[in-house]
Symmetry: C2
Subunit: 340 residues, 2 copies
C-alpha cells in the first residue's frame, strides 16, 4: 500500500474532524465561523460552498502515519492531528495580516475581505479551537492524562512557532542576521510543527519516550531540510517546474539561507543589498552570480543533505512498522527529493 | 480576616507565578519576552525594572478565593489563576491593536512601541504561555486529568471571549444592534473570564459539579452586573469620583447598554446618532436628556440590580466557607457597590 493510498484514506477523516471541531453551535454569530470556514477553504466569502484548495494537510497525515507506524490505533491520533492542522492554519491567518499578503492559495486573504481587526480576532478564535480539538475529539479515545500531555506538547510547539515568527519579523529590519539565527528561526517557524505532528502520532500510539524523541527529531530535521530546499529552489529552481518566478526571495530581499550565507562572505553582495531601490533584472542576476561565487548554493545543498540524512537516521531509529512505515519513507522522499 | 488581607496574601503568590511562567529560557531572543514583561507592567520599554500598574489581578484573586472558600488547597488553584490572568492580558494586548489605543494603564501600548506586526505575535505568544501556565505550575499540585479539564474550561472561555470580541467589533459598523446582542457580547467579553476564574478555583478544590456550576454562574452574573454598572457610571457617574470625563461612551458613540436601550425607543436619539460630525457639548447633553426621557437609566439600574441579586443568590448556593467565603461577599460589594 503506497503513500497515496494513505492520503486517500486519511484525508476524509481529517476533513471530517476539522469540520466537527469548527461546527458552529446553534445561535452563534454567522460571520464568526464563516471567516474560519473560508480560511480553511470550505466556503466562499458569502458562505457559499467552495472546493478551494485548503492546503495539503501534510502535518495531520504525518501525525496519523507515525501513529500507525508505531502500531497505534488511528483514532487516538485524530485529535492531535486536527489540533496541529488548525494551529498551522491559525499561524497562516495571522501571517497574512503581518505580511499584508493579498492572496493565500489563489484566493483573497481573510484580512483583505473582512479587515484586519476582525481577522486578528478570527486567528485568535482559530487558535482557541485548535486547542479544543483535543478534548472535543478525544471522547472515548484518549484519557485526561494523555490529553494534558498532548496539549502541553502542542503549546510548547506554539511557543517555538511564535518565537520563530518573532525572529522572522525582526530580521526584516536588521542587516546583521546570521546563518545560525536563520536556522533558529526556521526551527521554530517551519520545523516545530512537523516535529510535533510526528511526535504526537507516536505518543497517541503509546510509543516509548525514546521512540517519541526519534519521531520528534525526525520531524524537526524533515522541516529543516524542506525549508532549506525551498530556499535553494527559489533561487536555482527551474521556473518551468516550480511554477514561480525565479529568485523571488532575492527580488523581495528576503533573508533566506543562501542570501545570508552570501552576505556574510561577499562585500559586493552587501553593497548591493545596502541600496534601497528595487533590484532590476541585471541586479538580480548579479546577486545570483555573487552567491554562486562564494559557494552559497553548495553550502545550502550540503546543509539540506545533512538534514535529509538526519531525517532518515531518526526515522530508522524509530523503527516504523508496516505499510505506514514504508509510507513515511515515501513521504520523506516526496518532500525532500523534489524539483518544484 | 478581611478582603484586603487576602489581597495582601495572594498578590505576591500571583506575581511570583506569573513571573515563573514568563521566565525566558537561556538563549531566547531578548525582545520576545521583554514585550510581554512590559505589557505585564514589570519593565519599561528598554527592559529597565518598573513598578508600573499591571492591573488589579481581580481574576486570579477571585480564583484563589473560590478555591479557599471551597475548602481546597490554595496551591491547586494557582495554575488556573495564572492562566486566567494571562488570558486576560493576552486579550488586552490584541484589543489595544484592534482599538488603536495609544495608552494602557497610563503607559504607551505595546503595539505603539514595537509596531503592530510584532504586537500581534506577542499576543499570540502570551496566549500560548497562558495555556502553558497550567502544566508548568501544576507539578505535584494537579493530576493530568484535572489539568486537561482546566484547559478545556479555559479554552471554552477563550472561545466565548473571542466571540464576544467579534460581536463588539461588528457593532461598530451596525446601526441595528439590540440590547440582547449587547448582553451576549458582554457575556463573552467581560463575564466569561470572571465565570471561569470562579469556577476553576472550585474545581481546583475538588468541589462538586453543582458547586462549580454555582460559582460559574456567580462569576458570570458578577461580570454582567459590573459591566452594566460601568455603562451607567460612564453617563451618570460623578466625574469628580470616577476621575473620567463624563459620558465618554456618548462622545465616542459607543453602543453601551443605556444607549442601545435609548436607540430602540427614541427616534430623536436615532436622528442624533445618524449624524456623522462629532457631538458638541449641547448634543452630548441632549443625548443624556433623551436617555433619561425614555427611562434608559432606570432600565440599566434595574438590570444591574437583577444581576447583582443573581450574583448573591449563586454565591449563597455555593455555600462559601470561612474567611475566604466572607471575602467573596466583600469582593462583590467592592465591585458592585461603587460610585467610581
Amino acid at each position: 500500500m503506497g503513500l497515496s493510498t494513505f492520503f486517500d484514506r486519511y484525508l476524509p477523516l481529517i476533513e471530517a474532524d476539522l469540520q466537527a471541531v469548527l461546527t458552529p453551535p446553534a445561535g452563534s454569530p454567522p460571520l464568526f465561523y464563516r471567516m474560519l470556514h473560508y480560511h480553511m477553504g470550505w466556503v466562499g466569502p458569502d458562505g457559499e460552498p467552495s472546493k478551494a484548495n485548503g492546503g495539503k494537510r501534510i502535518r495531520p497525515v504525518l501525525c496519523l502515519l507515525t501513529c500507525a507506524a508505531s502500531g497505534g490505533p488511528l483514532d487516538a491520533a485524530r485529535p492531535p492531528a486536527a489540533a496541529i492542522e488548525l494551529i498551522h492554519n491559525f499561524s497562516l491567518l495571522h501571517d497574512d495580516i503581518q505580511d499584508r499578503s493579498p492572496l493565500r492559495r489563489n484566493r483573497p486573504t481573510a484580512w483583505s475581505i473582512w479587515g484586519e481587526v476582525q481577522a486578528i480576532n478570527a486567528g485568535d478564535s482559530l487558535f482557541t479551537l485548535a486547542h479544543l480539538a483535543i478534548p472535543r475529539l478525544a471522547e472515548g479515545r484518549l484519557d485526561g492524562e494523555t490529553q494534558a500531555r498532548m496539549l502541553t506538547i502542542t503549546d510548547e510547539t506554539c511557543l517555538a512557532l511564535t518565537c520563530g515568527q518573532h525572529l522572522d519579523i525582526s530580521f526584516e529590519d536588521r542587516a546583521d542576521v546570521t546563518v545560525d539565527e536563520y536556522l533558529e528561526m526556521i526551527g521554530g517557524k517551519t520545523a516545530a510543527l512537523l516535529s510535533a505532528a510526528a511526535r504526537l502520532g507516536a505518543l497517541a500510539a503509546g510509543a516509548d519516550e525514546s521512540v517519541q524523541a526519534h519521531y520528534a527529531a525526525f520531524g524537526h530535521c524533515l522541516g529543516m531540510a524542506f525549508q532549506v530546499l525551498d530556499d535553494i529552489l527559489d533561487i536555482w529552481g527551474d521556473p518551468a517546474l516550480t511554477g514561480k518566478e525565479a529568485a523571488i526571495d532575492i527580488r523581495q530581499r528576503k533573508k533566506s539561507l543562501p542570501v545570508l550565507y552570501g552576505l556574510e562572505r561577499s562585500p559586493e553582495l552587501r553593497d548591493l543589498y545596502a541600496t534601497s531601490a528595487p533590484f532590476d533584472e541585471a541586479q538580480v542576476e548579479q546577486a545570483v552570480s555573487l552567491l554562486d561565487a562564494v559557494g552559497a548554493r553548495d553550502y545550502a545543498e550540503s546543509l539540506a543533505r545533512r538534514y535529509s540524512d538526519e531525517t532518515l537516521k531518526h526515522l530508522d531509529a524509530a523503527q516504523p512498522q508496516g505499510d505506514a512505515g514504508q509510507a513515511l519513507y515515501a513521504l520523506v522522499d516526496r518532500l525532500l527529493h523534489r524539483d518544484r
